[in-house]
Symmetry: D2
Subunit: 444 residues, 4 copies
Amino acid sequence: MEAGSLIRRVVSSLTGAAAGVVRSKEERQADRLARLLHMLITERGEATGAAMARRAVTMYSGLGVEGRRRFFDTLAREFSPDRNAVLEAAQAWHRDPTPANHALLQRFVEPPRQEVFRRMNMAPGGTAVLVGLRRALLDELRDRPHLAIVDQDLTHLLGSWFNRGFLELKRIDWRSPAATLEKLIAYEAVHEIQGFPDLKRRLENDRRCFGFFHPALADEPLVFVEVAFVDELPAAVGPILAPESTIGDPRRAKCAVFYSITSCQAGMRGISFGNFLIKQVAADLHAELPNVKIFATLSPVPGFRAWLKRKASAGVPLGAAVLAALRSDLLPPAEARAPLENLAAWYLTREWDAGHVRDPVARFHLGNGARLERINWQADASHKGLAQSFGLMVNYVYDLGDVENNHETYVKGHKVVHSDAVERAAREAQGVVESTASAPMSTS
Amino acid sequence: MEAGSLIRRVVSSLTGAAAGVVRSKEERQADRLARLLHMLITERGEATGAAMARRAVTMYSGLGVEGRRRFFDTLAREFSPDRNAVLEAAQAWHRDPTPANHALLQRFVEPPRQEVFRRMNMAPGGTAVLVGLRRALLDELRDRPHLAIVDQDLTHLLGSWFNRGFLELKRIDWRSPAATLEKLIAYEAVHEIQGFPDLKRRLENDRRCFGFFHPALADEPLVFVEVAFVDELPAAVGPILAPESTIGDPRRAKCAVFYSITSCQAGMRGISFGNFLIKQVAADLHAELPNVKIFATLSPVPGFRAWLKRKASAGVPLGAAVLAALRSDLLPPAEARAPLENLAAWYLTREWDAGHVRDPVARFHLGNGARLERINWQADASHKGLAQSFGLMVNYVYDLGDVENNHETYVKGHKVVHSDAVERAAREAQGVVESTASAPMSTS
Amino acid sequence: MEAGSLIRRVVSSLTGAAAGVVRSKEERQADRLARLLHMLITERGEATGAAMARRAVTMYSGLGVEGRRRFFDTLAREFSPDRNAVLEAAQAWHRDPTPANHALLQRFVEPPRQEVFRRMNMAPGGTAVLVGLRRALLDELRDRPHLAIVDQDLTHLLGSWFNRGFLELKRIDWRSPAATLEKLIAYEAVHEIQGFPDLKRRLENDRRCFGFFHPALADEPLVFVEVAFVDELPAAVGPILAPESTIGDPRRAKCAVFYSITSCQAGMRGISFGNFLIKQVAADLHAELPNVKIFATLSPVPGFRAWLKRKASAGVPLGAAVLAALRSDLLPPAEARAPLENLAAWYLTREWDAGHVRDPVARFHLGNGARLERINWQADASHKGLAQSFGLMVNYVYDLGDVENNHETYVKGHKVVHSDAVERAAREAQGVVESTASAPMSTS
Amino acid sequence: MEAGSLIRRVVSSLTGAAAGVVRSKEERQADRLARLLHMLITERGEATGAAMARRAVTMYSGLGVEGRRRFFDTLAREFSPDRNAVLEAAQAWHRDPTPANHALLQRFVEPPRQEVFRRMNMAPGGTAVLVGLRRALLDELRDRPHLAIVDQDLTHLLGSWFNRGFLELKRIDWRSPAATLEKLIAYEAVHEIQGFPDLKRRLENDRRCFGFFHPALADEPLVFVEVAFVDELPAAVGPILAPESTIGDPRRAKCAVFYSITSCQAGMRGISFGNFLIKQVAADLHAELPNVKIFATLSPVPGFRAWLKRKASAGVPLGAAVLAALRSDLLPPAEARAPLENLAAWYLTREWDAGHVRDPVARFHLGNGARLERINWQADASHKGLAQSFGLMVNYVYDLGDVENNHETYVKGHKVVHSDAVERAAREAQGVVESTASAPMSTS
């Protein structure tokens, strides 16, 4: 029956080709690739070793934008499960839950696309091609929502393949391949790296950089974290980034600051590694450097200004200093400090959306079980820091022994674990924020 | 809803515990593990990094036979998909094939076991534990067929994880870790290795050994192949195995003989790598040693004697020499040569079963696209060789350019690609084998 | 006796200290180090494992310029052989050449400094410290010629330790450690590298870079050579260095150009590796890429302009075009081409000094057995190229089969092996150069 | 002058050949090699890169015993320093100690053999060949003492090349290459290893094995030490060697026992690494396992029985029990315990010879700064243990803080640092040993 349905598909694809529609060169290439993939997922594809897979990967890599688009459409249309077969198998298993029926159900419900991707992965460099394919697919997805089913399959597969158990944690330093360091410069999203000399300072003895690597993507970090060893919980990022700063001794440091966490592969969007990375690195550093007692971040507050702007528009009486700060793109003056810090404390602890705090960075760290410790005034004077949060930055503390409980409190109790100082600041803001029943917020 | 069903499950498992059934210590351990796994697959399991996964793996590794059995039962019972939810999702998607419905269907139909295994894999050494878990499961499966659904999930996952694209082909030689070589000695299934000194000869310059390795299973080959460089298609395995033989020069050899292919991991049964390995090694050796023109095996015929015995029982008139050979466990005399070779040729080319030739080794190589080239008399005088096939061995030739066509001929045309000599021999046997309408064969 | 002389030395060094001379802090440090070294070379130094060596290396590394100077003086004065003992031993061995007398002679004649250096080398990082020590010593040597004896010993030792048999030839590419690539940028002496992006082009697939490394100096190349694969013997370096050039396919190239050879360690001056490097790389590339038939350099002519200037000063009638070129620092005009090329041919083939050609680059390649093939007009328009040789560059061809004979011709026959074209050009220049018996030249 | 003397040498070697003496094929090969070496050490040898060195190494490796013997003779005769030149240079330098005269002296006094060896070392595998050459030379040396001068040069060179700073300390375990482990089995001199399975126990988690490796001799340990982690200072070697013993946890051990130290390369005889190895390993283990407080050996007493036998022959009244033990090759009975232990204490602490204790193992450890801690009864019941020392073994303790002082006490104070118990035992023996003025002993 499978063979039969295969032949039907091949024929229909050929018929489509013959139906008088004039296809462009790119479309013809895409269709040839689709036909090859139909063959690839038969036993014959297996018999050729990786040869046919290699051909498929080469053909895919040769497609232009138009060809890729057609190819994605074909993946969505022709390599989906057979709906009737699925329904019948589901009914049969519901009626009679035998292992055989279970096997049949699983077989029919799995989209043939998944086997396509698994076979393509057998070609040399196949994994990198599939990660690139997903990146291209995500671009298309914006305008072509029906491709979501292809993305669901690919996401599922990549998520399984890039299981943390298959990732290698590697220290990245000045002895790492230039090919790897180049990626750091290219990908660093939090605090831009200005070429190799700037990077070198971030890899000195009082800094650390670690990344997760997958054996099939040599030299390509999936995610990396930058750490600085300092004397105390840091209140500003400038001294950490300064290229000329004196190099300290990590064996005397009290605090390890995670000052940047960056995901590298656009094609892995939605598959998170940062959580594992932070905890693994914290555990390893803890074992290596018993003097280090505090593991904390120095993090941006990317959504603060935008939220505050909406508040202002909604007529919340924020006060003159805050309104002036909202109109300026410079560092705000001292009189804005208290009100802005208080509002930030409120924003980070009280503003929830669908079971999560609204700020994306807060969401990530609090969901990981970190504690919101401190809000820092004039901590990041970069253009980006001012634009996002008036230069405010935040410390999240990772106390490995509390991580599991903090997470529970956050997820089940819907409460942000935070310091007394942050709590006091948030309460200060309460009168302001709630002075008008800000209806637009309550529904968000 | 998921959380609700989680609580229901936890409660029911606790209730079961409280229901007056006295559980053994092992059973209590297994139940504790199952409860942990219920937690592990929630978001909370993710928040703990790999810590909870580590606990689960440690607990599983501590289970005895009885505990494992109970644990497997729980995996089958509590971590299967919800049949009602699956049916509803299948109906919804059948009615309305939106991406959202597709996503829902995929989510409900995937057994929670798979997520259990993926999470366990996150612990250090998790992959090895899961491969071991499957081996234990296969042992249980014989008497407890309902566990087949657990095996289906695990097989699917391991098959996906051990995709050829993630395997590393490595040469194994005397500089390889003793830990790896030890596995060769332990696993070699075709021609037993008598300790390290015997192995050393098989790794000299005129021999080669290659294995597939997975990054998560360091030092552990998944499958390995042993190759000898010789002057011509070999007719006997003795000279190849002789520990004292002179070491030849591979740059002058004409023929690369694959004289042993061994799968190492019982926990990977049914997930085949040998096909890829042979072709990859042949391609690599072809590039390295242009002088080598023939890539062939020297293979056993494991099912020949058993088949012939059944023929004899069924009254097929095999002749005195063959009948005498069947009664003896020594090398058969010269007068048995022609009839035995003819019958072997028939057996290997004409005896089919459910779309495949009956002999398992023939099935493997012919399915891979090899050609049956020659039947060799007195090729393996070992006890095993005599017991399986009267000392006969067979050459299958891998001609990389013909592999795809040969495979098609075999799979679609249901024909064995073989040499003229084999064909002549098979025809000689025809009169004998068909002289009685061998009814017992047709049903087998 | 040795112990006695040791004690004498220690005492005299102490006495010196007590003799009322007020020593600076640095001098006291240098003297403490010297005393430690006296101990280090006794059996006691051996008994402490590497601990005492580590102390010595740390103390040396802490010395400033003044301290180092005093320390070098002490090395020259106190750690030299005992002249009387040497003379006696030489007389004894001359009289009675027994193995025992030979051993005694060797023992007395070897400066204790050598043992000092060998012991210092036992500390972690000791080798790098000694290479640095020699660099510092070479700086001092200019003004303090009596230190030459220290340098003789160190040179001898380093030459022995950095024997080619201990060097590892490694390919350097974009996957090499940044720490290594950084050295290339710092050291490249022939054609400056403008940072990492510029370097990256020189490491693409149609370029190669190889270096010799010593196991005790990780990441630090001793010497490296840059190679470009091109279609024919190149006439200009610009296209090779252009960062934006198209990347070619080395499997189609006809010619491998060695366009830069750079020694990296100032502390290894006078210990040559380039000779071995070129031949090894040529042999390896020859084996890897049979399509490459020509192995040649594109080399500067560093001494040409200076020599020509001296000729002009001596009144040699060079002609208006050449004289104009000598006055300009721009690319010379077309009318200067023929005379300059002819004079360069003469300079490279006919100007000898103490058994070697005068031009240092020519001396290196001709001494290695290369053939002077071609003089290239407007081959290097860089400031340096113009300043050295009016933009002229030269191809030396390495024909591995001829290298030994060419060397013999050069060393014993005192003849430059060169092409007919170069010979014709040199003859053209003869009339000009010899028109005045330029006395200063004739003695060279 | 050098060139002249070179030609003289070549001519004389040719003349010798022509002088009517009929040379065997092997002798002709040896002479050809010698002629090649004369060329190799000229500048021409350098110009050929490593090609000529490769030829020389191949020719040497092809020599048989007779050829080697002739070759060694030639090395002694033709490649020695020129005696007249040396004397003149020594006189010149004595008269006028300029750097130039120093350089000249060093140049003339260095035997050309050394340059021969340095050049041979440039060939691939050259270092291993030279180590083998020295082994062969040591064999010849017994009957041909005039070859000592060749050995002096080679020893000097190898000692310099195998400087501890160039050695790599590597842990050897079951993941090490079989090629390395094979050497352990072959070389282990103290407690024989019975094949790979026996070795495996010695590499388990409660054992350690470390070796020094030189980069030019891959896979070949120079020396290795075997360590066991135990609860207390061990009194017998049997439990440590037992292949079936339970595997302990090194993190709970109190004591690291060095129970075997083995030099591997006969060609490195007299060049000691064991001293460095023990101290480095002790320092590393100390850092890794703070729980381990005692670093000690369990060592044989190889010279005890032989010494005691001589005492008996000299008429020392050893008593019935000891005399019975001397006649037996079984474990001695309990009544022999006290007298034998006392005599061993005397032997190890009071018997000196030329500034060193007489027992070679004691000499090694005491010279390294260890303390003689305890004598163990029935500690080694092997044939060898009984034959050497009636089954007695000894603990030497390495206390890293005391090593330097202990060494001084031993070397300068000529005293063995030992425990009170050993001292008491030695005093017990005093009456016996000194009861007759044992003349043969007093002169030693």
